[in-house]
């Protein structure tokens, strides 16, 4: 079983990397991009058989280490 954790800065917290990338896209002539947010994806290979339990465990991991909830949000996807 795999868990995919996406971590990104909270809405309202300025994302300097996203902003720089947005400006780069604009300077390359890509119009119509309103905002860019850059996050990270953490893929965990789990030794687990129960998706609900696995998700609860990954939730704990995210709260403890994978995300800094002062500035970041995250979502978890379990892939069988």
């Amino acid at each position: 079983m795999k868990a995919i954790v996406n971590v990104y800065l909270k809405q309202g917290v300025l994302d300097p990397q996203g902003k720089a990338t947005l400006h780069a896209l604009e300077s390359l002539g890509f119009t119509g991009v309103k905002d860019v947010r850059i996050g990270k994806q953490i893929v965990l290979e789990l030794d687990a058989s129960n998706a609900t339990e696995a998700k609860a465990e990954v939730e704990k991991m995210s709260q403890t280490l994978l995300a800094n909830t002062v500035i970041e949000d995250y979502n978890i996807e379990i892939v069988q």
């Binding site: 800065l9 917290v13 300025l14 300097p16 720089a20 280490l65 994978l66 800094n68 002062v70 500035i71």
Partner: protein, 223 residues
């Protein structure tokens, strides 16, 4: 006075920090992150600068779970004095010992230069030798120094006199060089025994090398 200076894999300011405190007449000792306990009878723990654990995941996020941090947390929560410099500041925010977080600098630059700082509060151990409004000239060297705290947290910092230092220009005008909320360069906790700042006072100890403004900052701990 006895100072414990922590060392994680990737720490690189422990010897500068030791030099500074030894020069101020302290007895300082470098403590490996794998230790379970801080040395006995210490008066200050310094979490120095560097790139602990390669700054992987987030700056300070892995170091904060190192063995020694359990005892540092116990020490801090029982009123012991702790100073985090640069990566040490990041580690202390990750550990929840100081409020807020440090993000990537607004322009994505690694900023390495001398920087003017303005003393905002001196009613604390750290800056009691400095006067409010005083301008200090101290090196900075960081990529993740963009201090963030939400509006409610900021109000508390202001109300409790927890903002220690702000980035300013030569004339003392506020200049948020890395995007920090309210140009904040250093803070302390509510009970004023845990201190964190991005600038490096330990690198401003000899006027021959550019500035000795760091002396009066660190001296706050020695008396």
């Amino acid at each position: 006075m006895r100072v414990a200076i922590l060392r994680f894999p990737g720490t690189n300011c422990e010897f500068d920090t030791k030099y500074a405190f030894d020069k101020l007449g302290c007895d300082s000792i470098i403590v490996w992150h794998g230790e379970e306990k801080l040395p006995q009878d210490i008066d200050l723990v310094v979490v120095p600068g560097g790139f602990s654990y390669g700054d992987y995941l987030r700056s300070g996020s892995i170091a904060r779970f190192a063995n020694i941090m359990k005892d540092v947390t116990r020490y801090a929560n029982s009123g012991g004095k702790v100073l985090g410099i640069c990566n040490g500041f990041q580690i202390l925010t990750e550990a929840g010992l100081l409020p807020g977080a440090l993000k990537r600098n607004i322009n994505l630059h690694f900023k390495s230069k001398y920087q003017y700082l303005r003393v905002e509060n001196n009613n604390n151990t750290f800056l009691n030798k400095c006067s409010i409004g005083e301008i200090l000239h101290i090196p900075i060297a960081h990529a993740d120094g963009n201090y963030y705290i939400d509006d409610k947290g900021l109000e508390k910092l202001e109300a409790n006199g927890q903002i220690l230092l702000r980035y300013v220009d030569k004339e003392g005008k506020v200049d948020s060089i890395n995007g920090s909320v309210e140009a904040i360069a250093g803070i302390c906790n509510k009970t004023k025994n845990i201190f964190g700042l991005m600038p490096h006072p330990e690198r401003a100890i000899e006027s021959l090398l550019g500035s000795d403004d760091g002396v009066k900052m660190l001296q706050g701990f020695t008396s």
